[in-house]
């Protein structure tokens, strides 16, 4: 029970920090908005295939910049304070859950921007939002864990990008396939396999993150 309580308390703290600062979410919103604006002005008419690819690329970069600050926004004396106070599992769990929520907001905003400016190419809404959900979960687990490593270095943003891009490749390839199906770019009956693969990847990386994070925390 203590674990859940700690996790919830830490999440509440992150949410409060975000609410007081507000710079992260507004910054990402601005990033997404300007990127989609550039896409719209250069393409004018975005074909579904390009829509699919661009959507996930924009979302990928938006989520990286949303998550990279997870472990660097608070100074190290305060980190030491948490270390003496809490269970490391609660720390990684709270950050991951918070980032899942953040990424879902970011992905819905990205989708909104695309729909507003480049048109809504989604044909099968439930499948697309399922892809968004599973994608947010998978990306935030991996990115949060890598942010915990990269946060220890001086140039954490560069390290974050080069370490996490190859790692999220399996998730991203499956997501693009899944959403290509939701956009009716291709018809595939074995879509449930893709969903199972995504869920499997999410669970696997969550398990690894929970297992390995205590070693990172011990500094």
């Amino acid at each position: 029970m203590g674990l859940i309580k700690e996790t919830l308390a830490l999440m509440r703290k992150d949410l409060l920090l975000e609410w007081r600062g507000k710079y992260a979410l507004s910054g990402i919103l601005l990033y997404v908005f300007s990127t989609v604006f550039i896409i719209y002005t250069s393409f004018e008419e975005v074909e579904p295939k390009a829509w699919n690819t661009l959507f996930w690329v924009v979302l990928l970069f938006a989520s990286i910049s949303a998550i990279v600050k997870s472990f660097v926004q608070e100074n190290s004396p305060r980190q030491l304070y948490y270390y003496s106070l809490t269970n490391p599992i609660a720390v990684i769990l709270s950050k991951t859950l918070y980032n899942i929520g953040l990424l879902m907001v970011v992905s819905l905003l990205t989708w909104g921007c695309f729909a507003l400016m480049a048109g809504n190419a989604v044909k099968d809404n439930s499948q697309f939002f399922l892809a968004l959900f599973l994608g947010s979960v998978g990306l935030s687990i991996t990115f949060t864990f890598v942010a915990a490593i990269a946060g220890k270095a001086d140039h954490s943003a560069t390290l974050q990008a080069i370490m996490s891009f190859p790692l999220v490749l399996p998730i991203l390839l499956t997501l693009i396939r899944l959403s290509a199906n939701a956009l009716r770019l291709e018809q595939d009956s074995s879509i449930s396999d893709d969903i199972a693969i995504l869920a499997g990847i999410d669970l696997l990386s969550l398990g690894m993150a929970l297992l390995l994070f205590p070693f990172l925390w011990r500094e």
Partner: protein, 359 residues
Amino acid sequence: MKNHWWKALGVIILLYTFTAGMLLPLKPGIVAVNPSAVRTGDTVTLSVQGYNSFYTQSKTPVRAWLKLDEQRALAAKDIKILSDNALRVSFDIPAHLPVSRRVQDFTLLLDNDVDGASVLPSALLVTQDSIQPDRGEALWVNSPITDLHEKSGITFPFRNILAETIRNTYFHVALWFAMLFLFIGGVSSSVRYLAKNDLDADYRAQAQTTVGLIFGLLGLITGIIWARNTWGAGYKFWNLREVDVKQAMTMVALFVYLAYFVLRMAFEDAERKARLSAVYNIFAFVALIPLIYVVPRLTDSLHPGSGGNPALGGEDLDNTMRMIFYPAIIGWTLLGFWMAQLYYRLIKAQMHLEERVGG
């Protein structure tokens, strides 16, 4: 010598791999047939170009068939031997074929007592003027394929597109297997570091991963050369939709391990560097496993083992090749671990020197 036997074993195995893999001849094969497409009702004379074959030395006459399926084949009307590597074979193609397709492909099969049987799949395309399977059945003179000879001596199989490049199996494929074992070794060293906090394990992980990376690059290069020779010059290895699981896995693994070395460069403190890179190494290795399931679903690839391409297994890797392929994997792996051990000692000596200079 007691603790060094595996190094000697590795070297001996690799010497055996190189000698046997490079010197053993290929089985006789058929390189090309001209013409390769005809119409029904003709008598065709095919000029056949053989490879590694000895048509003039055969004691029994050379026999030839055009094979339609497992039961049905046409025997040659006349065979003229021009040289060891060239034949002229005549066939009477009936006016109608017993199939309901417009274009039917035939497999050419040659047999003599020196070379044994050799095959060229889809050697001849026959176009029917009109499709009448009933009359085709009536006209068909079946001559079953019997009493095929076996080539004596130790040889590698002849594969049409691969030909002599089949020997690359002992380098390209075996190097990638060795790379995988080295990466697994690196991950287990990382686990040992986290369990025991012993910096030696971290140096070992670094050394094994470095050698694994080198093997991966060598495997990639041999793969690119091989692909250019067999799939054509237009093949691009960086195009993920054209490549396949094995290529893509290796490319991504190389990215991951390059990131591993960048991560190591980012930290000065040895303990911190060791812990963070060990954690990343383990996480990355596990995170890449799902690629095995993900990439094959993207597209059909040219690579062996997908889309009907020949691969390891079945008739493609015959027993002679297995006798060299499996030892090659063991040999490269042993050599890799030896290299890793040498590099590990170098790292350790460097650290020791730094400590003494620094202290």
